[in-house]
């Protein structure tokens, strides 16, 4: 690891009987874009507030730039936060918003004006100082919120699902903009979101969080292609989930037999023995379609009936029901347009390479 801007060292936070953050550790290198991805209620907001200083951990320590933050109040931490609804001050102009932190630090007016002007230029809003907040568009408000924090040159910028309230088009646009801003400023970003696409697109590293703990920390590619837990496999990207018992298993493949009697082969993650209760995940794009089952050899092959077509441009998929057992499969339609004429009720063969499906042992709790 290069220089660490943020170290979270075995931090816990409890609300009554509920353990919101459970003995969690984390390290973020200088200048990287780190995301914490998890469903709502997984403790990611609590974790962010612990880093920002709005909450004190029950145990453990948060170090920012190598310095322990125990007892350091939010207004004294080298950390700034972009809030979920941005929290721009409506009673102030854009310039006053961006200059607020500098003024609080006691900087001289001419210096504030100069720094604010430079910052607004860098985020693509030159000369917007005099505007009122309600005159800005959604995207412009985001830039002002980021400018307001970055003008203080924090060691760490925390972002609390800032894109959540935007419509899809603007969200896609702001993702790119955010990534460019981060690359441009080189500030370490810690971003929390429940939107996996935001986390995958933006981040150098992503931590998938569930019930106060990290399930897996890794690059977006690792999370997608080598999920280490069933939760990550189910949460990151679309996946077909099959539950059953391991009929046969060695170190390289597992044969899962579902309750309905479907047998599929997959690559095991962790040690799995025959007889274990297992869960297999097959990504929709891993499954190939064919009019004739023979074309799919040597993959494992099935025949299904088209249940419904899910047209979504490049993400189009088809819902198949396996003929013999009625198991449902979501299969991505190939980009070549080969199966564009598929109709509901039609029969089609499908199959996948066992090495591209992953199987976990279900741990009983």
């Amino acid at each position: 690891m290069p220089d660490l801007d943020l170290e979270v060292d075995r931090v816990s936070k409890r609300y009554g009987a509920h353990l919101a953050v459970d003995d969690l550790s984390l390290a973020v290198g200088r200048g990287s874009f780190f995301s914490i991805l998890g469903p709502s209620g997984c403790g990611k907001t609590t974790l962010l507030r612990l880093i920002a200083g709005f909450l004190e951990p029950d145990s453990g320590d948060v170090r920012i730039g190598g310095r322990s933050m125990r007892g350091v109040l939010p207004n004294r931490r080298p950390v700034n936060m972009v809030f979920q609804h941005l929290a721009l001050f409506p009673m102030m102009s854009v310039g006053e918003n961006v200059g607020y932190g500098l003024a609080r630090r006691g900087a001289a007016q001419p210096l504030i004006r100069e720094r604010v002007a430079t910052m607004l230029k860098r985020v693509g809003l030159p000369g917007a100082e005099g505007k009122r907040i309600d005159q800005l568009s959604g995207g412009q408000k985001h830039r002002v919120a980021i400018a307001r924090s970055l003008v203080l040159e924090p060691t760490l910028l925390l972002l609390d699902e800032p894109l959540g309230a935007l419509d899809l088009k603007l969200r896609e646009h702001m993702k790119i903009e955010l990534k460019q801003l981060q690359a441009d400023f080189g500030t370490t970003f810690v971003y929390i979101t429940h939107d996996q696409s935001e986390a995958l697109v933006l981040s150098d590293h992503v931590a998938v969080m569930s019930a106060g703990r990290f399930e897996q920390v890794g690059t977006p590619q690792e999370l997608y292609y080598q999920p280490r837990t069933p939760f990550v496999a189910g949460f990151v990207g679309a996946n077909n989930r099959l539950t059953g018992a391991a009929a046969r298993a060695d170190g390289h493949f597992v044969e899962l037999e579902s309750a309905q009697g479907l047998t599929v082969q997959a690559r095991p993650s962790g040690p799995i023995a025959a007889g274990d209760v297992v869960e297999a995940f097959v990504r929709p794009e891993v499954v190939s379609l064919a009019h004739d089952a023979a074309e799919l050899a040597p993959m494992q092959r099935f025949v299904g009936r088209v249940e419904s077509l899910l047209f979504d441009g490049a993400n189009s998929a088809v819902l198949l029901r396996e003929l013999r057992t009625g198991t449902e499969f979501r299969v991505a339609l190939p980009q070549t347009g080969e199966f564009a004429d598929l109709r509901e009720g039609e029969q089609v063969a499908f199959g996948f390479d066992p090495q591209r499906a992953v199987c976990f042992e279900v741990t009983r709790t």
Partner: protein, 296 residues
């Protein structure tokens, strides 16, 4: 075609319905506010020159200027009302803050109800309650003696401070409600953001909370100031003969002296005073009356 025809037919009927709906308000406004004031204005601008003979004159207003007691009372009433409003604001602000931002769930509504409960009792009874507490043989002086703070029971009634206590107590609810409304709409994230960017409690109060709550503060202050300025019962009962409240002068002119002309002139002067001070207050704080009333 049919749609426009029926719309045309409906238009006069809608207008009539609207008019009928507004009629009570209009009658109230005209009959109880505009007409009496026109009459009072006419009254205040005439002087009796002989029995049953009146002529147009500014004599009633001149009396006010020439007689120091009158304008002394006038200025004193204004000053005391401003002080009472300021005290009410100082007490109501933290209270409203606590109710809105700190209290949770049931405690929140309970606290608002607690503010409201004193108003189930008539103002006279409430004020008499204060008299029972504060008079020389009352509860508070008795306790002061029992605790060894004073050697003899002291008379706590009939001081300016007593009048202020009574006025603030009577007005508190009318300040808390608009303040609570204004603070309710303040997003907690704004306070956190300001804190995160390096603000401290004082700067956040000054730059974020007060500007946001300004319409509520203005609305509460206007209501409390007008109620206080026009209050008769509290200053009279708690201040006794020395209370020197301007409404007492108006009462004396109308009821004791049967000098309706003078009373009407005083009434108008009080109206002008409250208008002037409210206007001044809004001008100084940079608020607009319409905004204030809408947001409150």
């Amino acid at each position: 075609m049919t749609a426009t025809a029926s719309a045309d037919l409906a238009a006069p009927r809608t207008r009539l319905a609207l008019f009928l709906l507004f009629a009570p308000a209009l009658i109230w406004l005209l009959g109880l506010i505009v007409l009496p004031h026109v009459d009072l204005a006419a009254l205040s601008l005439r002087a009796r020159v002989a029995p049953r003979t009146y002529e147009f004159s500014f004599a009633n207003y001149r009396t006010f200027i020439d007689e120091p007691l009158y304008w002394h009372t006038f200025v004193r009433t204004a000053a005391m009302s401003i002080i009472a409003t300021a005290c009410t604001l100082l007490i109501a602000f933290p209270t409203a803050w606590y109710i809105v931002k700190i209290a949770r769930g049931q405690a929140k509504s309970m606290l608002l109800v607690l503010c409201l409960i004193p108003f189930w009792v008539s103002e006279t009874v409430r004020t008499l309650g204060w008299m029972i507490l504060l008079r020389e043989s009352g509860v508070v002086p008795h306790f002061l003696v029992a605790l060894g703070i004073t050697a003899q029971p002291v008379e706590l009634l009939y001081h300016d401070a007593t009048i202020l206590v009574g006025l603030v107590y009577t007005s508190l609810l009318f300040m808390i409600v608009p303040l609570a409304n204004a603070l309710e709409s303040l997003d907690d994230a704004l306070i956190e953001a300001a804190y995160d960017l390096g603000g401290n409690a004082w700067s956040i109060l000054r730059q974020i909370v007060i500007p946001h709550a300004a319409p509520g503060i203005a609305a509460g202050s206007i209501v409390v100031f007008m109620l206080t300025l026009g209050n008769y019962l509290t200053p009279t009962l708690l201040g006794g003969k020395n209370s020197l409240w301007f409404t007492e002068q108006i009462y004396a002119q109308f009821i004791t002296r049967f000098n309706w002309e003078q009373g009407a002139a005083f009434g108008f002067l009080l109206l002008m005073l409250s208008t002037a001070i409210v206007w001044l207050g809004l001008a100084v704080s940079g608020q607009r009356f319409g905004d204030v009333m809408r947001r409150a």
